[in-house]
């Protein structure tokens, strides 16, 4: 891992932790009736007279509801406050809430929902990725170590799952479940479904590595000295797959973040009013709306950033061409 990607990984982890753990300014469901489609309220440090001051915001006043026009009330700046009511930063004034990323169609705080959504969206993907890796490693190692009939059956199954049009299968599966599920039930269902769809790729890789390593002398020696198969796997063979698994994480995690978003977006994942990123994107998917309230696409940006961070931190490095190829080939 290069220094750069280590740095990116650290940064991404820090950012994600902050994102997931930070208390939100408002609850995710709170509706401010006068703040439908309110634009983001940006913190400022220079006031209307040009003086520097402690970070503050100008509260918004509704001018035209149906055209969602708001004006900033420049006469009454509201200072930001640290740590009040559990929120890192808050600036609620009698005139209304502070919506750092604007309001959604129901006047809910997009920022708070984005943070709450991060817990669900990233949580599902992380747990599912871990599950898929675990399942894939165990099955791949079993197939690679024992070979024979077990190997053939497992790999046939892996091949089959691999070529299924995943999204269709997941959606059909979800459609068979009861309509009303609690958020926790949806969380674990999605996790299980994604893990079941994601195991073959790591399994195939682990199997190949275990197979080739098993023929190495040290493994043969371990077998000869009477070590149990689990011990051989666990002590000798699996460590060889670490690099491969890291790359797999970089593939599975983004794929699952996206899968959650897509499923919730089309109504087969989390459901309103649960704020997952896919649910939030439903509001943004109309040309008329996204033009007037581009901040509703914030979850799209969040997804892209997360995926980018995972790719650049964990992704496969470019080893570059072999040395006999000179640069400047023109």
């Amino acid at each position: 891992m290069t220094r750069l990607s280590r740095g990116a990984l650290g940064l991404a982890t820090a950012a994600l932790t902050l994102l997931v753990a930070a208390p939100t300014p408002h609850t995710a469901g709170q509706q401010f009736a006068d703040f439908s489609y309110a634009p983001p309220m940006r913190p400022r440090v220079i006031d209307a007279e040009g003086h520097w001051r402690w970070p503050f915001i100008y509260p918004l006043r509704l001018v035209d509801r149906i055209e969602h026009r708001f004006v900033e009330d420049r006469t009454r700046p509201v200072s930001l406050r640290w740590w009040r009511d559990g929120a890192v930063l808050s600036a609620d004034s009698p005139e209304g809430p502070w919506l750092p990323l604007g309001g959604d169609p129901l006047g809910r705080d997009v920022f708070s929902r984005l943070l709450k959504g991060a817990r669900l969206s990233l949580g599902v993907s992380a747990v599912a990725a871990a599950g898929a890796l675990l399942l894939g490693t165990v099955l791949g190692a079993l197939a690679g170590f024992h070979g024979g009939r077990l190997d053939r059956i497992l790999m046939r199954a892996a091949d089959f799952v691999l070529v299924l049009p995943a999204i269709y299968v997941v959606i059909v599966l979800r459609a068979t479940l009861p309509l009303v599920l609690s958020t926790a039930q949806i969380f674990w269902t999605l996790t299980a479904v994604l893990a079941l769809a994601g195991w073959p790729q790591p399994a195939r890789g682990v199997r190949a590595i275990v197979r080739s390593e098993r023929r190495q002398e040290y493994a043969e020696a371990a077998v000869a000295s009477g070590a149990g198969w689990w011990r051989i796997l666990h002590r000798h063979l699996l460590p060889a797959t670490a690099g491969f698994l890291r790359v797999q994480v970089s593939l599975l995690l983004p794929a699952f973040i996206l899968a959650e978003a897509t499923l919730s977006f089309v109504g087969f994942g989390f459901a309103e009013p649960t704020p997952s990123w896919g649910v939030m994107l439903q509001d943004a998917a109309q040309a008329g709306v996204i033009l007037e309230a581009p901040w509703l696409a914030a979850p799209a940006l969040a997804i892209a950033l997360c995926v980018f961070a995972v790719h650049s931190a964990l992704g496969r490095a470019y080893p570059g061409p072999p040395s006999h190829v000179r640069d400047k080939t023109s």
């Binding site: 269709y168 059909v172 983004p254 998917a285 799209a300 470019y318 080939t329």
Partner: protein
């Protein structure tokens, strides 16, 4: 054709058929949730008659056998939601998805291959760094997000139609309709094709690198063959095998990806149809869509398998 190759092709065709059968059967069994009704407020007696006519009141095994028998004759039953034969609906929509998928594949190939060749054959330089960054960036913006961003762009600028299928009047001329279609195709194609281009870039880059590492390449370099000739004539040809093999998987990605693109950008293809079918709990339609998706995928995998086998005779023995 060698007998080995024929056997290989037959085996691949067999596994493709199994894939289609299993996917569509699973879909029928899974989506046999309560089938819906006609318009709101219809007399229940009429509905029961409708369901009886469509065979939805029979036990599952019987229904399944009947469905299989009819599916073998390309008759997938009638959609409850659209009141039309499923096969007609699928034929209509599959054309749109195929158009979108093929144009996206074309864009992805035209962008991804040169990018991959560049990053795979050079060590560094601003062009390589830029291409790599671009590739990671594109890979981070999957079709769902890309279509939302493009939707925003189109709505802001008004340069291109922000989604929807072109409505070509029946009396439009040939050039006119092609031009209109192209205008409407740009957005979904980019949304689907750009992330695919990044995947192709990665694979092509790896493949070129592997090809260049072959001893014969080093030998050629030692003989003084110019580097660009090595890359473009020899390594490229060697690298195409693995890249081609991946197209089967990419067709699956295109199907899955086009689902999001079609829903966001209102492109009425198979993905959108499947979406509508599941929303309406329309058993036969959902099954038909899944079957159609599986057929596309099976054909894609089959064709790439055979192409790869033709390019690289070792494969037929290996599998």
């Amino acid at each position: 054709m060698a007998p080995g190759l024929i056997r290989y092709v037959a085996r691949r065709a067999g596994s493709a058929a199994v894939l289609v059968l299993v996917v569509s059967s699973a879909a029928l069994i899974l989506s046999r949730a309560a089938p819906p009704a006609d318009a709101f407020g219809t007399d229940p007696a009429v509905l029961a008659a409708d369901r009886h006519r469509l065979g939805l009141d029979r036990p599952l095994p019987e229904q399944y056998l009947a469905w299989l028998w009819r599916a073998a004759r390309l008759d997938f039953g009638e959609s409850l939601h659209f009141h039309r034969p499923v096969s007609a609906l699928i034929r209509e929509r599959a054309g749109n998805t195929a158009l979108l998928g093929l144009s996206a594949l074309l864009v992805a190939t035209l962008l991804g291959l040169p990018m991959g060749i560049l990053t795979g054959s050079r060590r560094n330089g601003p062009a390589v760094a830029a291409t790599r960054t671009l590739s990671v960036a594109l890979l981070s913006v999957p079709p769902l997000i890309m279509s939302l961003l493009l939707l925003l762009l189109a709505a802001r600028t008004g340069w291109l139609p922000a989604g929807g299928l072109p409505d070509i009047p029946p009396d439009a001329g040939w050039t006119g309709s092609v031009l209109t279609t192209m205008r409407y195709l740009v957005l979904p194609t980019l949304a689907l094709g750009l992330p695919m281009a990044a995947s192709i870039e990665r694979i092509q880059s790896d493949a070129i690198r592997t090809a260049l590492a072959e001893p014969c390449m080093a030998a050629a370099a030692a003989r003084g063959v110019p580097a660009h000739r090595i890359v473009w004539r020899h390594a490229l040809r060697l690298s195409l095998g693995p890249v081609l093999a991946i197209y089967g998987i990419i067709i699956g990605a295109a199907l899955s990806g086009s689902f999001a693109v079609e829903v966001v950008l209102s492109w009425s293809g198979l993905g959108q149809l499947m979406y509508q079918a599941l929303q309406a709990r329309d058993t036969y339609l959902a099954t038909g869509c899944a079957a159609a998706g599986a057929v596309c995928l099976a054909i894609g995998i089959f064709v790439t398998d055979v192409a790869a086998a033709l390019l690289d005779p070792r494969l037929e023995r290996a599998v």
